[in-house]
């Protein structure tokens, strides 16, 4: 499964990912139209800051998803790619998923009375947040590939120490 990997030291807090997330989920995928939507699209990831660290906080599509466990309508489900998706028409706006998500990344769209969360941009190969990050703080990676990279990094550090 592919993961969105966040390198917090690269995040400048520019919120480009948030904006592009909204645009991707707008009726017309266009910023100028999106801001004029009667019910503007909601973002599904959130730039947060603690001390000097800025980072996008986004859905992990947890294996043991608390949001899915809390959903009382069957609106939340896991698709064939392992992504926790929603069926809008089933959502009653009880916000149980918001209450359940320990990352705080399910949002309430009060205008249309449904919960919104990351859907990994089904219309795109690379999610809008990843594609838009100007500093590449967000990356779409294969879990195994990422582990390999980390191992390589450690080897590299070891070899530079040895030198």
């Amino acid at each position: 499964m592919q993961l969105i990997y966040v390198q917090t030291d690269r995040c400048l807090g520019c919120r480009t990912c948030e904006i592009q997330c909204r645009v991707e989920h707008a009726e017309e995928k266009n910023l100028f139209a999106a801001i004029r939507q009667i019910h503007p699209p909601k973002k599904r990831l959130f730039i947060e800051q603690q001390g000097k660290v800025k980072a996008p906080i986004l859905c992990h599509h947890c294996d043991d998803s608390p949001c899915m466990a809390a959903c009382i309508t069957g609106s939340l489900y896991r698709d064939e790619h392992g992504i926790v998706q929603r069926k809008d028409e089933l959502c009653i706006g009880c916000w149980s998923c918001i209450m359940a998500c320990p990352f705080g990344v399910v949002a309430r769209d009060a205008d249309v009375h449904v919960a919104v969360k990351c859907d990994r941009c089904p219309d795109r190969e690379i999610p809008a947040c990843v594609a838009s990050c100007p500093t590449k703080a967000l990356r779409l990676v294969d879990a195994d590939q990422l582990s390999k990279e980390r191992r390589q990094e450690i080897l590299f550090r070891g070899s530079s120490l040895a030198e």
């Binding site: 904006i19 592009q20 645009v23 910023l31 503007p40 699209p41 909601k42 838009s132 100007p134």
Partner: protein
């Protein structure tokens, strides 16, 4: 995405020999995607060090900056500063010419002279300077003092603004408090009022921007007038445009930038037999081939018939032909990327102005006191570089179009005078009234990476010409139409509606062109936009109406620069409905958007029409033209 609809540019982009690592503006545009949404909407502010602040355009996050500024205030301040930036450019351009004129009169710049006494007297007369019985030098001395006084604190309405618009327009400006009394003072005023904690009223800020735009108009008009006096008022001239004008067997020198102070001298020197001989001695059988790029290209094309290579957005592409030996630049619209592109070839980039240097280029300070020698030295650099040209890397597309350029207001009136010597404007007005000319549209501005180069220009002009709209063009708009063959008699036959074609044929034949006037009239560089205003004002005065009532519109369908923002804003102030084909960074404020596209219409008659789709934009402009015709009872 398609980069350009210009076949020559496309050919070079596809076939150049600069290697894969050579990147162009289009590549860099792609690398910038997606661009910052806050910036696109104009809702970020960096005017103080408590910031940067941003307003959430979706209404969930902050609705105010730290100081309390709303999106309306921030967007309005951004617009005003863009206008000030554009005005500063034109002020610098105009002031530079005025200084040289002053030094010339003092005998310090022997390579410059008063070339057009008729224009000198006309301008001086308009400015209230006594002419009778005085020498050109005396008149010019008064005129240059008057010109220089426009930049400082004049204490009264700027002369070049007050004497070149209709009386009614000046009254409208006065009522709104947007008559500037200083060009540079108004720029400073905008910077002051938009700095931390000064003007927070978005409407008041926009009025400040309008006032600054009027100062920009003043600077532009002054620059054009003084250029004509020093270098001659343009007259129709046949030349060629597009990259096919580069010659494989000649030393190709590209002049790029804006001010004729540099380029006009180089153009003169390049025809000296000694220089040509030096080029031939270096192995260039074809001698010296000077070509123009961007507005410098327009300046030397309309005054010397020197061919135009390409426009601003494709300046790198000119280097990518591998055939340019030196690219000589002054200021404005010079992309720092040309030095990087030049590294892949033998081309030498030569900067000439103390305020405009660039890493990777050679700087040869251009001295107006020793202009011809400087020009020769620069040309010799190009001749020297020719020896290192690698023929394997040359890719000159065999594509260029004939272009008739040089339609200054004076030239247009002169052509009309061939039809009616007593009342030259009458044929024009009669045909507007009769509907043979449905309206007039001024195309101005740049090329942008945001649409394929020239696409919007060409789509719109075809539609408007077919509907009998006469087209005036300046800046990179004129370059687009020159490169695409719209500045020929054949273009009139091919594209103009029946009524328009008939009128252009009558005038063209009367003027001795042996065919119709081109349907798109090349009025000069971007600083020359006031030439179009002069025509409109003359018509309005003749009819006893204001410009805001005429079926005259403007369009900058591929605008880029702050100068374009300033020009567009003064076009609106002048009463012209003005189309923008790229979305300016204002949509983050509903109020500012509303003011610029609607409210301002009630105050000034002009307003912005933002429409990225060229077909829809053409329809919108035709609708406005028809509204105005109806308003005049036509």
């Amino acid at each position: 995405m398609k980069c350009s609809i210009d076949p020559a540019v496309t050919e070079v982009l596809n076939n150049h020999k600069g290697g894969n690592k050579l990147k162009t503006a289009w590549d860099r545009y792609e690398a910038q995607q997606p661009q910052c949404g806050f910036g696109e909407l104009g809702v970020c502010c960096r005017h103080c060090m408590q910031g940067p602040c941003r307003i959430d355009p979706f209404g969930e996050g902050p609705d105010r900056g730290i100081c309390g500024a709303t999106a309306d205030t921030i967007v309005a301040r951004g617009v005003a500063r863009a206008v000030a930036g554009g005005t500063a450019s034109h002020s610098g351009h105009a002031l530079h010419i005025a200084h040289v004129l002053k030094k010339m009169l003092a005998g310090k710049t022997p390579d410059y002279a008063i070339k057009d006494e008729v224009k000198l007297k006309a301008v001086a007369g308009r400015c209230g300077i006594a002419i009778e019985g005085r020498s050109s030098k005396e008149i010019a001395q008064d005129l240059v003092e008057k010109a220089l006084s426009e930049f400082g604190d004049k204490g009264e309405a700027l002369t070049w603004a007050a004497t070149t618009v209709t009386k009614a327009r000046l009254e409208t400006f006065s009522k709104l408090g947007i008559v500037p009394t200083s060009i540079d003072g108004t720029i400073a005023e905008v910077m002051h009022r938009t700095t931390y904690g000064v003007d927070a009223d978005p409407v008041n800020i926009l009025l400040g921007a309008l006032k600054c735009a009027v100062a920009d108009y003043t600077a532009c008009h002054l620059a054009t007038d003084l250029s004509d006096i020093l270098f001659g008022t343009p007259q129709p001239v046949v030349s060629k445009a597009n990259l096919g004008v580069l010659k494989e067997d000649a030393v190709n020198i590209a002049l790029h930038g804006h001010n004729p102070l540099l380029s006009d001298i180089i153009a003169q020197v390049a025809s000296e037999p000694e220089m040509i001989a030096e080029a031939q001695a270096a192995g260039a059988a074809g001698g010296l081939n000077v070509v123009g790029i961007c507005c410098t290209g327009n300046e030397i094309m309309m005054r010397h018939g020197i061919p135009l290579a390409t426009s601003s957005i494709s300046q790198e592409v000119a280097i990518m032909t591998g055939a340019i030996d030196a690219m000589v630049v002054d200021y404005q619209c010079i992309m720092p990327a040309i030095a990087t592109a030049a590294e892949c070839f033998h081309t030498k980039v030569i900067t000439t102005m103390p305020i405009a240097k660039m890493p990777g280029a050679e700087h040869i300070a251009f001295s107006d006191e020793n202009a011809v020698e400087c020009a020769r030295a620069i040309l010799r650099q190009g001749i020297e570089r020719f020896k290192s040209r690698n023929p394997d890397k040359v890719c000159i597309p065999q594509k260029s179009s004939t272009a008739i350029a040089g339609f200054s207001a004076e030239a247009i009136v002169a052509a009309l005078a061939k039809v009616n010597a007593d009342d030259p404007l009458k044929p024009l007005i009669d045909n507007i009234v009769a509907g043979n000319i449905r309206g007039i549209c001024l195309f101005a501005g740049c090329n942008t990476v945001k649409v394929p180069q020239d696409h919007n220009y060409i789509e719109m002009v075809k539609k408007l010409l077919a509907e009998n709209v006469l087209i005036l063009a300046t800046g990179c708009a004129s370059s687009a139409y020159a490169r695409h063959g719209f500045m020929t008699s054949e273009a009139t036959i091919r594209y103009a509606g029946k009524g328009l074609a008939a009128v252009l044929t009558v005038i063209g034949e009367a003027a001795g062109l042996g065919g119709p006037l081109p349907p798109v009239l090349h009025m000069g560089s971007c600083v020359d936009n006031p030439r179009a205003v002069d025509v409109a004002v003359a018509i309005a005065n003749k009819l006893g109406v204001d410009v805001s009532q005429l079926p005259v519109v403007a369009s900058a369908p591929e605008a880029v620069t702050e100068k374009a923002v300033a020009i567009g804003t003064w076009a609106v102030a002048g009463g012209l409905p003005t189309h923008l084909g790229v979305v300016p960074p204002v949509l983050g404020s509903k109020l500012v958007t509303e003011v610029l596209t609607s409210t301002v219409k009630d105050l000034l008659g002009g307003y912005f029409i933002v429409e990225p789709d060229p077909a829809k934009a053409a329809v919108a402009l035709l609708t406005v033209i028809d509204e105005r015709r109806a308003g005049l009872g036509l």
